[in-house]
Amino acid sequence: MQKKNNGWRSTRMLSTVAAALTLTLSHPAAAATPKDMLVIATMLDEFSTLDPGEVYELMPEEYIANTYDRLIRVDLKDPSHFNGDVAQSWTVSPDGMTFTFHLRPGLKFHSGNPLTADDVAWSIARTVLLDKGAAAVLQGIGLTKDNLQKNVKKIDDATVSITTDRRYAPTFVLNVLGAWPASVVDRKLALDHQQNGDFGNGWLRTHEAGSGAYRLVKWTANESLVLQRNDDYRTPLAIRRIVLRHVPEASGQRLLLENGDADIARNLSPEDLAALTKSGKATAFGVPQATVLYLGLNTKNPTLAKPDVQQAIKWLIDYDGIQSNIVKTIYKVHQTFIPEGFLGVLNDNPYHQDVAKAKALLAKAGVPNGFSVTMDVRSGYPYSEIAQAIQANLAQGGIKLQILPGDNKQTLAKYRARQHDIYIGEWSADYIDPHSNAQGFAWNPDNADSSSYKMLAWRNSWNIPQLTKETDAALAEPSTQKRAQMYEAMQREMLANSPFVILFQRVSQVAMRPGVSGLEVGPINDLVSYRQLKKQ
């Protein structure tokens, strides 16, 4: 009897477990995503703030670009042209220093507050006064805390003027004013949340006060970012809701895309991209990015300071081998400091692996048997893999390269303190004007340890008064054609002699499910637009 009872209990328990399992498994594992909702699998770990006056990382710039308007935006099809965003038209004064913008009528923020010249002038001044990372972009056209009142002015409710501290190339000024730090913030809303004179920065770090195509619904750090269509936007938008999901693992992004739980994936590995496109479950396209991957050779190291040693290292590296075996579709070989797609780019890749030539240069430099040197490498793909390949390449010339692995922030801190021998890193332009990269690689007005300008040339202790003058001259040149020629000359000069081994240009690979279209991807994240997105 007892046995029978136990058996009945066991059977009942098993039945209950089976019923629960059946219920769970029979329930749809995932709900179908509606046609007007679009899910993007990407990485959101760069988000530390949502304030356009504070943002400086790539994905947050993309968020700002789609939630905030600005005066103008660069035309993706022709980077020398600009389209009005909140500005209907603009003029440049004869001295080339004052830019006057006339706003569109009837503009409104997401809050319903009207967007006026007051908001535009206040927003630009706000970024400069906040003096966070984004301020550096506006300081590039000479806007400082001291001259704001004089140089950024509301003329009337629909007109605003901005005056630079000296004459710059007009395309440069427009590129700066078309970048995210010049986003127009809802002044009234931000000031309503102001605390201790922070211009609403504390509140805007986690909220939004824009007038862009989409408005923020919810941001959960390292999890998701939900955007809702701005129904009052000046052009029709097909997608009602966009969800950006943080999926740190590339394989996870691929599986979500294959199963229809994501419509777009942004960080797939070359292998996943190839497999997906082959299976027909996604279409992919690549856009060269304004990011170059390079080696910085610290000239504080007397051996690395020798031009022949710098040249020898450039001739020892197997650029094509690393590209085809390691970085494949996500980087392309590019050896000049201005990325493809920019004004004045010199698409010239003269270096390839030539061990004999490199050995001759090392002998000429007085180190025929090579030397020992260290390289600080941030952990993770593709830096570690590229570093190992370079280690093998340099060994062919007798150079013993010791890799010092570290976290990104750790290696960067060492680089900024000029304590490295060789550093492998990336440089991304803030706006699509060649000056953004020229300032990084070819400008060093003060090579002292106490310098306030810690750009890349300074970090590698490369004292270049002549190139610095050329960078300043190109920045002031009003003729676009002549300006392009000046940058080409600088790139030739640096190819022949510089402590920078520029290896690759990043290519953004976007994979979309069939039926999804309209994602506009520019060379920088600030030029990624969701406005034309469609899903069938």
Partner: protein, 360 residues
């Protein structure tokens, strides 16, 4: 005795304390001891983590202003973070804030650290609890049966399960699980805690999506959340099963070789009773310790599992914070994990008293 000698009036002998009062005193002194241990452990954690955090060669200012900020912006951010003050002052200020329940703001999320922890810790707690339940429900009986059927097929199966669980990397098993059960069979949902469609549909009470959706009686949300947690919980549960079955088997084999077991069998006690009452009863205490250890390990947050399954738990939060020198977040998370360890220890001690009369 001299009659003139003054004598002290006799006092009544103190009556022995009532058993209830004695028990209350024991409980009070135990609680005080525990509070002291808790305070000391947390203070130690705070000091060690703070010093390590300030000495790591990572510049937290770069996480705030970026690589290209002007010298003035850099200096202002450094001062705002209080990094221009002496280390001792920084520590005292931080300790004062912690004592006032303020763990500061996270540099990486711009949220109060306490809010972040309220969000990420329940995600880990939910996953770890479910995984431990799987581990206990499957692993313990498997270990007992393996020991009882020593060197028979079920024992070989248990050992094989244990071996695989100790040698296969969790991220590989996670990816294979996703490929099979999500991508091929469509039995479970993919990475993440919930589908975007259901995100924000239930109010947060406990932070556990399963419990919150049950409270709200949102069955679609509940089943969606269940289908998301099923695979990561099963994967972590598998590792728990492997560990617990191995340990249970070992404890049981030790007990089954004892003389009291031979005596019980000689007296004709049914084998099921010998195993589940006599032997199992005696391994309960070490088993509780092992289960608590396994649970506390999972509560630290299994970073690799969280990455593979895009699970926003405390493991990936703490790792991200560490890599960016977000010290408020690191310290806050460490304190919470430390406090959880202590709470689990307390619970384990309490269970000892229930299970072992000698400890009472």
């Amino acid at each position: 005795m001299n009659a003139d000698t003054p004598t002290t009036p006799e006092r009544p002998a103190p009556s022995p304390p009532s058993p209830r009062a004695a028990a209350a005193r024991r409980v009070a002194s135990g609680a005080l001891r525990w509070l002291f241990t808790l305070a000391l452990t947390l203070a130690g954690l705070l000091v060690v983590t703070f010093v390590i955090g300030r000495k790591v060669p990572i510049d937290p200012v770069l996480a705030v202003v970026g690589d290209r900020a002007s010298a003035s912006a850099y200096a202002a951010a450094r001062a705002q973070l209080g990094l221009d003050r002496p280390l001792a002052v920084q520590f005292l200020l931080y300790a004062r804030d912690v004592l006032h329940g303020n763990l500061g703001l996270s540099l990486l999320t711009s949220n109060p650290v306490l809010d972040d922890i309220r969000r990420v810790f329940p995600a880990t707690l939910e996953l770890a609890t479910l995984s431990t339940l799987i581990g206990v429900v499957v692993g313990v009986p498997l270990g007992v049966i393996a020991a009882a059927r020593h060197n028979r097929w079920i024992d070989h199966v248990a050992r094989f399960v244990g071996l695989i669980g100790s040698s296969v990397p969790v991220f590989w098993l996670g990816l294979m699980g996703l490929l099979l059960f999500y991508a091929r069979l469509h039995w479970v949902a993919g990475p993440g805690r919930i589908d975007p469609l259901y995100d924000g549909m239930v109010d947060t009470h406990t932070g556990s999506l399963l419990i919150d959706s049950l409270i709200a009686r949102e069955w679609d949300v509940f089943f969606n959340a269940l289908s998301h947690i099923a695979l990561p919980a099963a994967i972590l549960g598998y590792y728990s099963v492997a560990y617990l079955s191995r340990m249970t088997r070992s404890f049981m084999l030790d007990q089954l070789n004892q003389e009291y077991i031979t005596t019980a069998r000689a007296k004709g006690v049914p084998e099921r009773r010998v195993i589940w009452v006599h032997a199992f009863g005696n391994i309960a205490v070490p088993l509780v310790t092992v289960v608590a250890l396994s649970y506390s390990y999972l509560l630290e947050g299994s970073v690799l599992t969280e990455i593979v399954f895009a699970w926003p738990g405390i493991g990936s939060y703490l790792t991200g914070a560490l890599l960016n020198a977000d010290m408020n977040a690191v310290l806050g998370s460490t304190l919470v994990i430390g406090a959880t360890f202590i709470a689990l220890n307390l619970l384990t001690d309490a269970l000892y008293r229930v299970l072992d009369p000698r400890v009472r």
